[in-house]
């Protein structure tokens, strides 16, 4: 974690607002990534760079390929072609658990709380490099008890920060939807990541909790952790992201700070349709009305 948090946001000022543009200090670089599902090209990204220490939003209409792109990057799905590098090292064909150990952790659109584990067990699971997770060593408690205690302390500190400490001994399955989102994020931090990939972290969360989640995401950046997140709510995107990447039909169609995105022709076309303001002729209009009815 070499990024200087205070300069990271400003360092994107000189970057051109073009799709696939080079960044001054990229942590993640993706080249020529393709994925087809049958006849549908789900992802077709020529190049994208993610700036270290910044919060990057990945937006796009439904079906744009955002989650598939996430899955390809985090090893949950294999691309048909393409390369990606984390801190300059190739991460092609790496499995999800290897990527997590390399410091790239993700959360899921549908929250994955481990229901029949307690909140604290959920947290402790997140720590990587645990001696007691090896079969033979697990049989001798003295080999892992000390490390377990250190992990527990770290977990408790995070739980306090995410205001989940009162739920410590409860089963994660008893948490509310919003608390699960918090737990998932806190648990991801237990892996001590360099890069956090959040798939719709605010989906289904009430406005009050959204604010606290936003604060947590900003805190991550302030600690020097790079954040990439998928989001539909433009207020959220405006609030926390330094850089926005727009996907449509599998391609990156625009990049830039959020101010430049709203006015971008390609983005408007992607969300509203390329001919949304073109005059319809009478026959077309009638056909359209019939479909509506």
């Amino acid at each position: 974690m070499t990024a200087d948090a205070t300069t990271a946001p400003t360092s994107l000022d000189d970057v051109a607002h073009d799709p696939g543009v080079a960044k001054p200090d990229p942590i993640l670089v993706v080249d020529d990534m393709r994925k087809r599902f049958g006849g549908v090209v789900a992802v077709d990204v020529d190049r994208v760079e993610i700036q270290r220490g910044a919060i990057t939003a990945l937006i796009g209409p439904n079906g744009a390929g955002k989650t598939t792109f996430f899955n390809l990057l985090t090893g949950f799905d294999r691309p048909d072609a393409g390369h990606s590098r984390l801190d300059g090292h190739s991460i092609d064909r790496k499995s999800p658990h290897t990527l997590a150990r390399l410091g790239m952790v993700r959360t899921f659109q549908l929250t994955k709380a481990l229901s029949k584990l307690t909140v604290i067990e959920n947290m402790k699971l997140g720590a990587v490099g645990q001696r007691g997770e090896h079969f033979w060593q697990s049989l001798a408690s003295p080999l892992w008890r000390g490390q377990e205690r250190a992990i527990e302390e770290r977990a408790d500190a995070l739980l306090a920060r995410f205001k989940l400490d009162h739920m410590r001994e409860e089963f994660a399955g008893t948490l509310s939807g919003g608390q699960r989102k918090l737990l998932e994020m806190a648990r991801a931090l237990m892996t001590e990541p360099r890069l956090v990939m959040l798939d719709e972290p605010m989906a289904g969360v009430n406005p009050a909790l959204t604010q606290s989640l936003l604060e947590h995401v900003k805190n991550l950046r302030d600690e020097g952790i790079t954040v990439v997140f998928v989001e539909h709510d433009m207020d959220v995107v405006r609030d926390i992201s330094q850089w926005v990447v727009v996907m449509a039909e599998g391609r990156i169609i625009a990049e830039g700070p959020h101010e430049s995105i709203g006015a971008n022709r390609a983005v408007i076309d992607a969300y509203l349709g390329a001919h949304h303001d073109a005059p319809l002729d009478l026959a077309e209009e009638e056909e359209w009305l019939e479909e509506e009815a």
């Binding site: 985090t74 949950f76 499995s95 999800p96 658990h97 290897t98 997590a100 150990r101 952790v105 993700r106 959360t107 899921f108 994955k112 481990l114 229901s115 029949k116 584990l117 067990e121 959920n122 402790k124 699971l125 997140g126 990587v128 645990q130 001696r131 007691g132 997770e133 090896h134 079969f135 697990s138 049989l139 408690s141 892992w144 377990e148 089963f171 399955g173 008893t174 648990r187 991801a188 237990m190 892996t191």
Partner: protein, 337 residues
């Protein structure tokens, strides 16, 4: 009530306790501990636990009859056989969804039995006749006098049997301790996480495939040990003792005790076999004393009727206490969320 007075309750109780702590109870307790590692803790759907028992049984049998090994080494052969089966089942299926393992295990257990009893395998496994000349080496280790009964109170077993049962329960106790230690360690936390959501575990840096493989091997080896205890006690390896219903009895024992709890397989097995002996002895006496007329059932049907009654009892248990004896309803309710 003349019906109640007619039954020799002392005898029924003796038989019940003897069966509840007998060889079958040991064997099914061990097999269910293995299944608990698979299903209860790791979420692996194994419908062929009897296959692991068969592998352990044939391993120990062949170790002595075919390769002339000493008893201890032949036990290791049984363990090795169970590991081989776990690898054969796990390598192709553990990357796939949970149902695939279920399909493969149920088929594999039958394949093992059918191959073992085939005429082509006769030179090695002696086909349907089975292996019969191997248990002597184990009974030679028996420090108890085979012609004297040992035990306390109603628990009386002949020397050889007493030896096997004693060793069997010691192995069971050690296995319970082993699984308990494993499941309270970080290793256990990982397999439980995989049971709950495999992708979440993978996203947190856990190699789900490898952990599932380890769990399959560990539970399979424990199943293999169950098979070894069984065939040594019966002094014969018969292919047709390893039929699919055995797997379902093991499941019954596990669910009766409560899935995913340390002692549930042991208690489940004791209750299961105790209950079968209890109903059998009670009905047999009622038929014998004429309280149940032969138009309803005769003494030859007692064996089948006891399964019906125990079946009804288990169905009631599932209705009124679906979590089993040790299970927690609170935990079970989380599944529906």
């Amino acid at each position: 009530m003349p019906v109640i007075a007619a039954i020799d309750w002392g005898l029924v109780l003796d038989q019940t306790i003897q069966a509840g702590l007998g060889v079958d109870a040991v064997v099914f307790a061990l097999a269910a501990i293995g299944l608990n590692v698979h299903f209860g803790y790791s979420g692996l759907l194994n419908f062929g636990q009897v296959g692991f028992m068969a592998m352990g049984a044939y391993g120990v049998g062949l170790g002595i009859t075919l390769w002339n090994l000493n008893p201890y080494l032949s036990l290791l052969v049984g363990v090795g056989f169970a590991i081989v089966l776990a690898l054969l089942l796990g390598v192709p299926t553990l990357r796939l969804r949970a149902d695939y393992l279920a399909i493969v295990t149920i088929a594999a257990a039958e394949i093992i039995r059918i191959i073992a009893r085939s005429t082509a395998m006769r030179p090695i496994t002696r086909g349907a006749e089975g292996l019969n000349e191997f248990a002597g080496d184990f009974y030679a280790l028996n420090p108890f006098n085979p012609s004297i009964s040992y035990g306390i109170g109603p628990l009386q077993y002949r020397g050889n049997f007493f030896f096997i049962i004693l060793v069997g329960w010691i192995i069971t106790l050690l296995t319970v301790l082993f699984v308990w230690q494993l499941m309270r360690s970080p290793w256990g936390r990982v397999v439980k996480a995989i049971r709950e959501d495999e992708d979440a575990a993978r996203a947190l840096g856990k190699n789900a495939y490898w952990y599932k493989m380890q769990a399959l091997i560990i539970g399979g080896v424990i199943g293999g040990v169950a098979g070894m205890v069984q065939v040594i006690a019966k002094a014969t390896v018969q292919p047709d003792t390893f039929v699919p219903p055995i797997t379902f009895f093991i499941w019954t024992v596990l669910i009766l005790g409560g899935v995913g709890k340390t002692f549930s397989p042991v208690v489940g097995s004791i209750i299961f076999w105790g209950l079968l002996a209890f109903t059998e002895n009670m009905i047999r006496q009622l038929v014998f004393e004429g309280f149940i007329p032969s138009t309803i059932m005769d003494a030859n049907q007692v064996g089948q009727v006891r399964f019906m009654l125990v079946g009804i009892g288990l169905a009631m248990l599932m209705i009124f206490r679906p979590q089993g004896i040790f299970g927690s309803r609170e935990e079970m309710a989380l599944d529906d969320r």
